[in-house]
Structure formats: C-alpha cells, structure tokens
C-alpha cells in the first residue's frame, strides 16, 4: 500500500501512522425514542470508538437530552464524527468539549472496598484525601462516592486495589463549559 501522505482519504491510507486524539463531545439531542440508538448505531456502523458514554434528559420542557461521548480517532475521523452526528435529524448541536478551552469534565464513581484492620484504615485515610464520601459501611466494607476528573478516579481505584477493591461503578464522563453562556 502506498505511503503518500496527501490527499487524506478514508481508503487506501495508512491510518496506523496517524496520531489518534481523545475527544469529549457533548451532543444535544431531542429526547425522542431511539435517539441513543441512532447515536450509538452511527458509531458502530462507521467504525468509530466509544470510550465512555453518558446520557440523560436535561430539559423536560424542551425534551432535550445531553449525551457526552468520549471517543478517540485521527483528526480526519473526528471531523467526520462531528459531521455525521449533525446529520442525524434529532441532533441539535455537537460541542467539542476538549477543543474548547472552557470545557470541564467530571465523573462520579461508586467504589466498594472490603477489608479489615490496617488496610481498612488506610482505605479510609486515602478516601479523605480524595474527598470521597462513605455512603455505606459494614464491619468489613465501605462504599465510597467520589467525583472528579476521570484520571482522579482511575488513580483512586488504583490505590484501592491492594486495599481490597471489590467493585467499581462509574457514570462515565459528564461535561459542560465554563462561563455564563449555554452550549
């Protein structure tokens, strides 16, 4: 296969040599039946990645839902993802949170840790540092509730691993932009 760099194309091009970037996209949609299916179906049909996905209705009156998708791809692919999303009839807007300087991303995690003695004390101490709340406790376990950037949650889980990490439940990434304006 040829190695000529331009023109860029979907065919016949060695995508392996291109750098992949991670992007967080906020997709504002009409909350009609099947809308999530359309978005997810688009990603699988066109071979795009989904690393994380969250969705909930955010405006009852307007029937608006907000889907936050974390994806990876080459610059060309990311450009296509945005354009293809906008082609879907119920999609009102796509906001590139990563590219926007004002983007904020947060995740919520519920983390179950079981243990006794020193590891249990250590787990509690680390949880305090991470400002995690204890939302359930037994003699042998805690459930921590933690919010923050995804990396912070990764790090928390890593530290809990040797202390008796049992189970993790995460929301996936939520996003919004700073400042007074919407969208």
């Amino acid at each position: 296969m040829s190695k000529e760099p331009i023109p860029a194309s979907a065919y016949d091009m060695d995508h392996a040599e291109e750098v992949e970037e991670r992007r967080t996209l906020a997709v504002l949609v009409d909350n009609e039946p099947g809308v999530l299916g359309r978005v997810v179906g688009l990603f699988s049909a066109r071979g795009y990645n989904i690393e994380s996905l969250t969705v909930a209705e955010v405006d009852r009156g307007k029937h608006r839902s907000r889907i936050t998708i974390v994806t990876t791809g080459t610059a060309h692919m990311l450009e296509q993802i945005e354009a293809q999303l906008l082609r879907l009839v119920p999609v009102a807007a796509v906001i590139d949170i990563t590219k926007s300087k004002r983007g904020i991303e947060r995740e919520l995690a519920l983390v179950k840790v079981a243990g006794k003695g020193d590891p249990r004390v250590e787990a509690l101490r680390i949880a305090e540092i991470f400002r995690a709340h204890v939302i359930d406790t037994t003699n042998e376990s805690f459930i921590f509730e933690l919010t923050g950037a995804s990396e912070k949650i990764d790090q928390f889980c890593e530290l809990m691993e040797p202390l008796g990490l049992v189970e993790v439940s995460r929301t996936g990434v939520l996003s919004i932009r700073r400042g007074k304006d919407a969208g």
């Binding site: 099947g34 296509q80 293809q84």
Partner: protein, 595 residues
C-alpha cells in the same frame, strides 16, 4: 366532526378535524400532493387500505413484492422530482422494503415509506408478523418513526415529507401500529409542522463563493465534476449548470447518478467519469488544475486510487451535506449549499466580475487528443449482436422521443451509461450507490405510473431482471407499457468479468443456468415477448417493441463473453485505464482486496 368524506373537504378545513389514524394517513398524503403510491396489503395495514378504498385522488399501484413498491417509488421520485411513497405491512412486508430503503439512502432519493406494525400492546411480544422496523431501518433510512399516539400521527407524516424532500433527500420510514390506525385523533395540517433540530443549510456563504470564483478566474485546466446532487436540486440546477458552463467554457463530466444534468450532445461534454467512464473524462479529472465538484461525493467508483487522485488540482466541493466535505478527498474550498443556490451565486459572481471567457484552447486541445482514443469503440458484430451495438441502436431509435431509461446492475448498466446519451435531467434512473440488481424493472413501473404516455425502457441483464420478474404482472395489471430490454449474455456478466480479471478465469457460479424462455414468460404474464439474435433484425424488432401498446419483454441475445471497457482496475489511478482488452495482470495485490 365524526363523519365526513375526505375528498369533499378542503385541506385547510381539515386542520383540527377528528378522524381515524388511517384517514389521517390518506389526508396527509393528499395534503402533501401525493397522486401515486406503491404498495402491498397485509393485516397490519388493512385500516389504511380501507381508507384508500374510497379515495379517488390517489392512484395506488399494487406491486407483486414490497421491494418492487420501494424501487417503483424511487423511480417515480427520480423521474418527477417529487417524493415517492410506498406502503407495506408489518414484519415481512417491512423487511422486504429494506433494500429499496437502503438504495434510496445511498442515492439520496426522497421517499416516504409507511409500514404497518402490530398493535402497540403487542409490541415486544414476538407477535405474529412483528419485527422491529424502526430498529432494522434506523441505519438505512434518513430518519424513521414509530407512532404510538394517534395525535402525533399527522404531524409525524408531514415531518417525514419535510425531512425526505429537504436538505440531502432520503428515505423516511413511518411505522404505524394497527391500533393507532383505528384510533380517532386530531388532524393537523402541514403548515404548522417544523423540526427545530433539522435546519439544512441551503444558501452558500459569500466567502466560499468568493474563493471559488478566485480559483475559477485563474484556472487553465478546469473541469466540472457533477453528480446526482444536481438532479436532486431540481431542473433549475441543471439549467444554471448549463449557463455557468456557457459563461466559463469549462468542460463537464458527471458521475453515473448525474447523467442528463448536462447535455451529452454538447461539445464540452466529456462523458461519464469513473471506473467505466470515458478515457477523456478520467484523464481530464487526473490532469486538471481546478476541479469543481457539484453535488457529487468522491465515491470510490469515481476516484480510483485515492492517493493518486487528481494530484495537481485545487478542488471546490459544492454539497448540501457537510459530512460529504473532506470525507474521502480533502478539498480547498467547501461550499455547503443546495446545488442550485451555489450555481446561481457562482453565475452571478462570474457575471458581476465581468470575467471574460478564459482561453482554454491548450486544455481543450489536450482533451481532444484523449477523445481521439475513442475509448468506447467496440468490435463489429460478427454473427452475434454486440451489447454496445444493441444499446446504440436503442438510443438511435428512441432519442427523438419522450424517453425514460432505467437499468438493472451489471455490464448492461455500464453499457447503457456509455452508449445511451441524455440531454435532460430526470431521464436516467439507475442504482448507483447500492448497486441493486432488480432495481430497474420496478423503477420502470414507477416511472411509467408518473408518465403514462412516455416511452419507459428498463435496460436489463438476464440475471438482474429475474430478481424482480414478477413486476411484469404489475405492469400488465396497471396498463403500464414498460419495455424490458434484456441484454441477455447468459452470464452474470460483470461477475464473470471480475473473475476473468482477478481469479484466473475460474467462473465460479456466475453462469446463468436454466434461463426461462423470456418470450414465453412475457406471454404467460399477458405481455408481449420479442427475441432477437441477429444484428440485421435488431432495428425492426426494436421498432416493434416501441410500437407495441403494452408491456414488452425484449430478449436481446448478445455476445456472451464481451467485457465492459474501458475500465479503471480497482486500486489504480485515473490515468491507468484498461482500454482494449483485459490481460489478467492489471490488478495488483492491494487492488485485489478492494471491491
């Protein structure tokens, strides 16, 4: 108001009227100006069929297979510029419709498909003839709906027409459970219907037009590369294309889907571009310094090897769909707009700048050299009829008439594109993006239903046409005098050609075994059958076909081993066309893996 006859109401007075879901379907179709629809009944659409029973203003063409209804609606749409409408029952009726829906999606054909669904309380229970129609068609339709409340039905129907016909057109599916068809609700007229999240951009931005004009003003080797978008944009777009060409003198090529937008008799017409396109068109695309893509999408059948695609040119891309921009080929100036709006802006801008017609004599001299290769030349008939000759005669004998051509898929399709010539848009109906064998015959039914007095010919292959043969019965029933002109080479010729090219002449399962006697078959359907295997008799028999007042199956026995040339082998660039003969080693390893 509970009782009324739909026909004696004016549409506006129906806004707010109470009626059943089934009546809403018919009322909305009438309000949308639908005069013809194609369908097939079944349990889940009986209420709609019942409402249709007393409806004189809509012609319903009963097909023999739902796929036929879908393709007929496509043919109707493409030949009229209006929205096609198809109706099918739940389950198998809906799944039979999947191919035409996908076909219409790929070729951007406006179509509304209405399917029946099991009653809402049975959805999800694997009820008799239940299938997840919206799930199945989600990825192959432009949009789709399952309507569970009769009060949403009228709005949904109007919204479906809006979406199918605006922006980049496409198929929209409305799945209506049977209880919703029976339920009574409130009708709303189309006037109040809009979709806030759906706002296709149709007017070009000024700066894009300015940049495009800057490039056009200085181009020395320009080419217009036009596509189906020009046809979809309406006859006005074709007219503006001709005017812009007149003002600039730039040569024009077109994709398979765009044939007819520019007249084939024009001296600056290059012929079709692409895998089986004209040598002069492909070389002009390769060597141009400015490519103006109007309503085309750099399909792989057009570009050939991407990394070697038109390496020295700057590119302007006019497209209504922003996702088409930079999808396959990076362009210098994207113009996101409806073709006619962009063409009008370019024409006005060109005139406002008082730009003279540029001197393109060197470029045109070069083009004439490529033309002189005479890439579509073929050997004389030696005994058997050459398929190219058959299309050529068909063209010569029908060109002065009011003619519409549809095709199936295969070699015959490409020969039709190469040897039949179009002066007007909307005269050429073929399955481009999906390449659906079995498109042409039902499409011809749809075209003829819209143009009762015109000559409608399906240029067919003997293999393709057997996929939809039963629609001859539809044509007979509805007195649609279509002509099915079969180039019968007793092979799935295009498959045979690729096996010759790629698989060392191992013709695995590509011979058309046990062919029916097409003449007797025609007679069995109550149509007229004609067979011809002698070049000397061809003209007279074509005239017999044209003059016959009713459907005809014409079995044109042609040279069996003819290959469709010229050809850009997959994986090769535009300037490496195979012209005369296939040797078997044209395609390298990378190319073999492509389609």
């Amino acid at each position: 108001m509970d009782t009324h006859t739909l026909s004696d109401q004016t549409q506006s007075s129906l806004d707010g009227a109470r009626m059943t879901g089934a009546e809403m379907v018919i009322t909305a179709l009438r309000e949308q100006g639908v005069d013809t629809m194609f369908g097939y009944p079944g349990g889940a659409v009986l209420p709609i069929y019942d409402a249709l029973y007393s409806e004189p203003s809509i012609q319903h063409i009963l097909v023999r297979h739902e796929q036929g209804a879908g393709h007929a609606a496509e043919g109707y749409a493409r030949s009229t510029g209006k929205c096609g409408v198809a109706l099918a029952t739940s389950g198998p009726g809906a799944t039979n419709m999947v191919t035409p829906i996908t076909d219409a999606m790929m070729d951007s054909i406006p179509m509304v498909v209405i399917t029946g669904q099991v009653p809402t309380h049975l959805i999800g229970t694997d009820a008799f003839q239940e299938c997840d129609t919206v799930g199945i068609t989600r990825c192959c339709a432009k949009h789709n709906y399952l309507v569970t409340d009769v009060d949403d039905l009228a709005r949904t129907l109007h919204e479906a027409f809006l979406i199918a016909t605006s922006g980049r057109p496409g198929p929209v599916v409305i799945d209506i459970p049977k209880d919703v068809q029976f339920a009574t609700g409130t009708y709303v007229g189309k006037a109040g219907v809009h979709k806030p999240t759906y706002q296709p951009k149709t007017e070009p931005s000024d700066h894009a037009i300015r940049d495009a004009l800057d490039m056009m003003a200085t181009a020395r080797r320009p080419v217009f590369y036009t596509g189906g978008g020009v046809i979809n944009s309406g006859t006005e777009a074709s007219k503006l294309l001709r005017e812009l060409q007149e003002a600039t003198g730039f040569p024009v090529t077109s994709t398979l889907m765009g044939l007819g937008a520019f007249p084939a008799s024009h001296e600056d017409w290059l012929g079709m571009v692409g895998m089986h396109g004209a040598y002069e068109a492909n070389n002009a695309m390769h060597d141009c310094d400015l490519m103006i893509c109007v309503g085309a999408r750099f399909d792989d059948r057009v570009t050939g090897k991407i990394s070697a695609f038109s390496p020295g040119s700057r590119k302007i891309h006019i497209d209504i769909d922003p996702s088409s921009i930079n999808k396959i080929i990076r362009v210098d100036v994207p113009v996101i707009a409806d073709c006619k709006a962009a063409l009008r802006a370019l024409l006005e801008g060109w005139k406002a700048r008082r730009l003279p017609k540029p001197d393109l004599s060197d470029w045109k001299e070069q083009i004439d050299k490529w033309r002189a290769v005479d890439c579509f030349a073929y050997p004389e008939n030696d005994g058997a009829i050459r398929p190219q000759y058959a299309v050529e005669r068909l063209y010569e004998l029908t060109k002065g008439r009011d003619t519409y051509i549809s095709t199936e898929v295969g070699q015959h399709q490409m020969w039709a594109a190469q040897h039949y010539h179009f002066e007007e848009p909307n005269r050429w109906m073929t399955s481009g993006g999906l390449g659906t064998m079995g498109y042409g015959l039902p499409a011809a039914v749809g075209i003829q239903a819209a143009h009762r007095d015109s000559l409608v010919i399906d240029i067919a292959g003997e293999a393709s046409v057997q996929m939809v043969m039963q629609e001859v019965s539809t044509a007979v029933q509805h007195k649609l005098p279509i002509k099915v002109f079969i180039l019968n080479n007793e092979w799935m010729g295009m498959v045979r050609q690729w096996q010759e090219l790629l698989h060392g002449e191992r013709y695995s399962h590509s011979y058309s075994e046990s062919l029916p006697d097409f003449v007797k078959l025609a007679e069995a359907y109550g149509a007229h059958g004609i067979r011809c295997d002698d070049p000397a008799e061809l003209d007279a028999k074509i005239m017999e076909m044209i003059d016959h007042d009713g459907p005809v199956i014409f079995d044109c026995m042609v040279e069996k081993a003819e290959n469709c040339l010229p050809m850009i082998p997959s994986g090769a660039p535009h300037n490496e066309m195979i012209l005369g003969k296939i040797s078997g080693d044209e395609i390298d390893e990378a190319g073999r893996k492509m389609v």
